[in-house]
């Protein structure tokens, strides 16, 4: 209950902020007076979102057990446990991969990501991990680059030079 209330509340605040943002940054006037301007449609959706999120919060509160309605139920959420969970590490690996992909390129970023994620998923034969990672990354690279002519991210600096050297084999 506490988590649902918290997330719905955060969403409500975000959409409320977005609505106010559209009021404070109005679009330029339309060419024809009866045209719909760029903000009206979004404002309509935001009003509906605010209404339904409010209704959802009320519903969650109404259907909750009396002991769950306490404010203290929010503080009892186990946030510390999240940092130690596999889920957190999984999300962190994915986010880090998406972040470093433009910098270090597909080959290196994917090689590191595949190794880390395989270990996270429970692969304990550590000698095989880099072998699997090499096969998987090479397979994707060759299929997309050579088979479909899709040029994957090269990275910058030394990583760019490394990617170019690899690509030269396929030209």
């Amino acid at each position: 209950m506490a988590l649902k209330m918290l997330v719905n509340g955060v969403l409500l605040l975000f959409f409320l902020y977005s609505y106010i943002y559209t009021l404070q940054n109005p679009p330029p006037p339309t060419v024809l007076p009866h045209d719909m301007d760029g903000a009206q449609w979004a404002q309509g959706i935001l009003i509906l979102l605010i209404f339904f999120l409010g209704l959802n919060i009320f519903n969650i509160y109404r259907t909750a057990k009396p002991e769950e309605r306490n404010v203290s139920s929010i503080t009892s959420l186990n946030f510390k446990g999240i940092w130690k969970s596999k889920l957190f590490y999984g999300m962190a690996i994915m986010l880090a991969y998406a972040y470093i992909l433009p910098q270090i390129g597909f080959i290196v970023a994917s090689f590191i990501m595949v190794m880390l994620y395989m270990i996270l998923l429970g692969e304990r034969r550590f000698v095989r991990v880099p072998i699997y990672a090499t096969v998987i990354v090479s397979g994707f690279y060759v299929f997309f680059l050579w088979g479909l002519d899709v040029w994957l991210p090269r990275g910058t600096g030394v990583f760019w030079e490394f990617s170019m050297a690899i690509e030269s084999f396929f030209r």
Binding site: P28, H34, N56, L87, L101
Partner: protein, 502 residues
């Protein structure tokens, strides 16, 4: 209807020409493989085929492109069922029941239903093209922006059917999708909305990466927490069970009929497309079912309805292209460009000057749908073997495939970040707060279409909203949408009152 001589001419051009037959078999195989590859949309598959098509005779080129186009849409169902990665937005409803069947060990059956269902849908669309193409085109021509906005709204009205136990969170999910569709430039004046200075967001929230994030990434995260192998032990998920007994097909005859007719009707409308058709087909089956709660839990009718209607819509979308010269979507526009280069004049004059072109497309579609069943069953057998790989490797490959697929669409690493964010945020919203992923996708897909057409309708009506709603087709569709939208809310209340009275 076209005369028999022209029909025979079109058929003989395809069936009596060994090169044409070979080209269709190759086109179908390549189309299924490309469609099954995340990141390769049906329009990209057609683009990849254009250089080869230009070198061919126009009639064979049209048959080749038709084969690639139809087969790539069907191919999208394979990763949706096996890995919960819908390659196209129209495969999203397929992923719901298809993946649930896979986790129960029925991947073969789900693939079989999807492939044969697609073929039947495609055949119905091909028959409609052959027999009532000119008449259907005339009806489709009466649809203006107001009617198209109403059709898109009808697609949105299936929201309340997606999760009848959590109606308010599902409505919020649909609205979040609509909100995400407003990010970027507005469709009429190009005013930047909710970009907060970020240039990547100017083009809007990309649909495919968001969808891959909400489906595939959430699933990988779920499996990361749960177990290290995908549980497919409770049945035969092996390739041998792809073909279902005839009596089981017979039990689903009305699903096939409803989905094919609905898909064909939606596909005829320029711009409406396979996505609305597949969601509407899915929702119609949910509504008609005696056990709606089984949908989303691995009901074969869910897979059948979604695939049958999306493929029927894909086939039918070629009717406005051929008869009017109006491409229904990006893939059709690419086909039109390739054929115009070769001197084929699409539109009303095609029926006058080269009517055999239309019948040859019909013959190619019919043949593609037959070849597709054989080819796709074979490809699906290979794909379903992948499920035997330990999840430590498979899960990692699914993530990598999702990342490359998201990047490949527009060569943007920003799309990979959006995919991951959609997965991470979606995991919290969907698994913990009971929001609904297909509803978010539905809102995101239809948002642009509703807004753009509604804005145009208001401009054309000079701001007179009442005149828009009073147009007969628009009025009827909107009324039907409203009834559909409110039915899951009103029906329990009516049932309660009935029980109270008795």
């Amino acid at each position: 209807m076209l005369d028999l001589g022209v029909i025979a001419q079109g058929f003989s051009a395809i069936f009596l020409n060994p090169f044409a037959l070979l080209v269709i078999v190759i086109g179908t195989t390549v189309g299924v493989v490309l469609g099954a590859t995340p990141g390769i949309s049906n329009s990209m598959a057609v683009v990849l085929a254009v250089p080869f098509a230009i070198a061919m005779d126009p009639m064979i080129a049209l048959a080749f492109l038709t084969a690639i186009y139809c087969a790539s849409i069907t191919g999208g169902s394979i990763p949706a069922i096996l890995f919960r990665i819908p390659g196209t937005p129209s495969s999203a409803p397929t992923a719901l029941d298809g993946y649930a069947m896979t986790t129960r060990g029925e991947s073969g059956k789900a693939l079989g239903i999807a492939l044969i269902g697609s073929a039947i849908g495609g055949m119905v669309a091909a028959l409609a093209m052959l027999f009532i193409s000119p008449q259907l085109t005339q009806v489709a021509l009466t649809f203006g922006p107001a009617e198209l906005a109403a059709i898109a709204f009808l697609g949105l009205s299936v929201l309340t059917f997606l999760d009848q136990k959590n109606i308010i969170p599902t409505i919020i999910s649909g609205l979040i999708g609509l909100f995400l569709a407003t990010v970027g430039m507005d469709p009429i004046y190009g005013y930047a909305r909710f970009t907060w200075g970020n240039s990547t967001l100017l083009n809007g929230v990309p649909m495919i990466p968001t969808m891959i994030g909400l489906f595939a990434i959430i699933e990988v995260l779920k499996q990361t927490v749960k177990r290290d192998t995908l549980d497919t032990s409770k049945g035969s998920g092996k390739s041998g069970s792809i073909l279902m007994p005839l009596r089981e097909w017979f039990a689903m005859k009305w699903t096939v009929f409803r989905a094919s007719v609905l898909g064909t009707a939606i596909g005829l409308l320029p711009g409406a497309g396979a996505t609305i058709a597949s969601f509407l087909g899915y929702a119609t089956e949910t509504r008609m079912s005696k056990d709606p709660s089984s949908f989303g839990q691995g009901n074969p009718k869910g897979v059948l309805a979604s695939e049958c209607s999306s493929n029927a819509a894909a086939g039918a979308s070629l009717v406005p292209l051929l008869s009017l010269g109006i491409p229904g979507g990006p893939a059709a526009a690419i086909m039109m460009t390739a054929l115009t280069i070769q001197g084929v004049q699409m539109g009303p004059m095609l029926l006058v000057r080269q009517p055999e072109m239309l019948t040859s497309v019909f013959a190619a579609m019919a043949l593609t749908n037959v070849v597709m069943v054989i080819v796709a069953v074979w490809i699906a057998k290979i794909f379903s073997k992948i499920l035997d790989i330990p999840y430590t490797i498979l899960g990692t490959c699914i993530f990598l495939m999702s990342a490359v697929g998201s990047f490949a669409l527009s060569s943007s690493t920003g799309d990979v970040m959006i995919m991951v964010l959609a997965g991470v945020i979606g995991y919290a919203l969907i698994t913990k707060i009971k929001f609904n992923a297909p509803a978010i996708i539905l809102g995101l897909v239809l948002g642009d279409m509703i807004e753009a057409n509604f804005s145009r309708a208001i401009t054309l009506a000079r701001g007179d909203m009442l005149s828009i709603f009073m147009r007969p087709i628009t009025g009827v569709i909107l009324l039907a949408s409203l009834i559909l939208l409110l039915m899951p809310i009103i029906k329990p209340l009516l049932d309660k009152r009935k029980k109270g009275d008795s």
